[in-house]
């Protein structure tokens, strides 16, 4: 894909202006590509790639009001967006950084996802020996299920071309807000002083949290499918120092599990990631662990 194709017959000045416009517009942000009931864009956080330094891109889903896409664990129905990367030599893609989802749906069927849109940040690595002569090309082929009452599968291919330089890159003005917003919804490791333990009965997991302060609301999102019943009410009992949250086991959970991983959303606080063994009290996951 090149913008420098020859266009015999067109005045040279027009070609250069058009080429300059095309280059500037694809530099940090590709145009929105249609998906069912919305658009998908691939955006870069910074204006260029610095050889040998990590950088971030993001898949920005904008959806019509009321339509949703899914979290990594979609819950009772649906499926998460799936991405296949086609990258210039020397570029490697990491895993999607999923923001905390919302519970979607009615009483007996509950899904986990994002209504109206979401920005999925993907960390990238750039080899130290990248040449500034060759801009890097990043292409994502995305399969996505977009649902409101009904579900429509879509496919889109989105691309981005970024220059390579030695200096560290400045932020891209158009993209900054999306990255900032997305990071607010990222689950972070809970403070080391917080203690979680998970006990179990025949039909439930009981998550007990000692946070050192009182909370007003808590929702747990299980990272893996088929461990916790999605639709069952999560029964919260608050204490002065924390809470217990009773999570009904999934009917599909036929073998015991050793750990429960997920995202904890406390009212008025940022989301936290939890990875705790079932049975004895432990602290939460260390930073970066999944």
């Amino acid at each position: 894909m090149s913008v420098r194709k020859s266009h015999a017959g067109l005045p040279r000045a027009i070609i250069s202006v058009a080429a300059a416009l095309a280059l500037s517009s694809i530099q940090a942000r590709a145009a929105g590509t249609p998906i069912p009931h919305g658009t998908l864009e691939l955006i870069a956080e910074k204006q260029w790639v610095a050889a040998g330094h990590p950088f971030n891109v993001a898949l920005r889903f904008e959806l019509e009001k009321g339509w949703h896409v899914y979290w990594v664990n979609p819950g009772d129905s649906g499926e998460p967006p799936r991405v296949t990367w086609d990258l210039s030599h020397g570029i490697k893609a990491g895993a999607i950084e999923w923001p905390a989802p919302r519970r979607l749906g009615a009483s007996t069927i509950v899904d986990y996802g994002y209504e109206d849109g979401v920005t999925l940040i993907v960390p990238m690595r750039a080899d130290a020996n990248l040449s500034s002569q060759n801009p890097v090309q990043i292409t994502a082929s995305v399969k996505v299920l977009v649902c409101r009452e009904m579900c429509i599968p879509g496919k889109a291919q989105v691309s981005l071309t970024l220059p390579v330089k030695l200096q560290s890159p400045p932020a891209s003005a158009q993209s900054t807000q999306f990255f900032t917003e997305a990071r607010k919804a990222w689950p972070r490791p809970a403070p080391a002083s917080w203690k979680f333990s998970i006990a179990q009965t025949n039909d439930s997991f009981v998550l007990t949290a000692n946070l050192g302060h009182k909370i007003t609301g808590a929702i747990f999102f299980p990272l893996a499918e088929s461990q916790v019943s999605n639709a069952a009410p999560q029964t919260l009992v608050t204490t002065g120092m924390g809470f217990t949250l009773t999570l009904r086991k999934s009917d599909q959970l036929l073998k015991p599990i050793a750990r429960l991983k997920g995202v904890l959303v406390l009212s008025g606080e940022q989301p936290y990631s939890i990875d705790a063994p079932i049975g004895k009290p432990v602290a939460t996951s260390p930073p970066g662990s999944k």
């Binding site: 749906g105 579900c151 639709a231 036929l254």
Partner: protein, 207 residues
């Protein structure tokens, strides 16, 4: 308040709450009994099929996950293959009136003809009663009941939770596996899976 009115109200509350109070069908439990009218106009009672294997297939003709199975011809193939071996196959339509996927008997009969589908019958469940009895979450959720009337499989149709037709040929079909293993006198190796697909479009007011 008159005594008879009060008891009527109590009965109404109990009737409405019953599907919630009864735990949904679980693997190894007796399959909840039901009676339903099918698109062919006949009435079908689960209890009449004791002694046979019964497959329940939650259906919604606008769902792309269902579309994958029918456009590839896979669902029809399974229906023909297993009913040919004496299995009773009920397609179940639990979309409520006004909801996506709701069909009348004649809509469903036209669909069956067009798609050359071959279930034993397509059961109309606009109240969502059968769906709630089995806690059906998605189309195409699948349930297999053995000749003793016990649920031996509940979950996805296969191990490829996508809408891609290309994923059908390489998929492991859990319904066929459950039927094959059970008919061979073996335990079902994978008796419960996450039933992927589109959510069942129940009435907002039903429970």
């Amino acid at each position: 308040m008159k005594r008879s009115t009060l008891s009527l109200i109590i009965v109404a509350i109990i009737l409405c709450a019953a599907p919630l109070l009864l735990a949904a069908a679980k693997i190894g439990d007796p399959a909840p009994a039901f009676t339903a009218t099918a698109s062919d106009g006949k009435t079908y009672k689960l209890a009449d099929y004791r002694g046979k294997y019964v497959v329940l297939e939650w259906h919604n003709n606008g769902c792309p996950y269902v579309g994958k199975q029918y456009e590839s011809g896979n669902m029809q193939k399974l229906q023909k293959q297993w009913t040919g071996k004496g299995v009773v196959w009920f397609t179940i339509l639990s979309s409520a009136p006004g909801k996506q996927g709701f069909v009348t008997a004649s809509d469903e009969n036209a669909y069956i003809t067009k798609m050359q589908a071959a279930p034993t019958a397509a059961l109309l469940d606009p109240s969502g009663e059968i769906g709630h009895l089995y806690d059906a979450k998605t189309s195409p959720q699948m349930v297999v009941i053995n000749p003793l009337g016990v649920v031996i499989y509940d979950g996805a149709i296969d191990d490829k939770p996508t809408t891609d037709l290309a994923d059908v040929p390489g998929a492991t079909n859990y319904v066929s596996l459950a039927l094959e293993q059970s008919m061979a006198g073996k335990p079902v190796a994978t008796p419960a899976t996450r039933p992927y697909g589109c959510s069942v479009k129940y009435s907002d007011s039903s429970h």
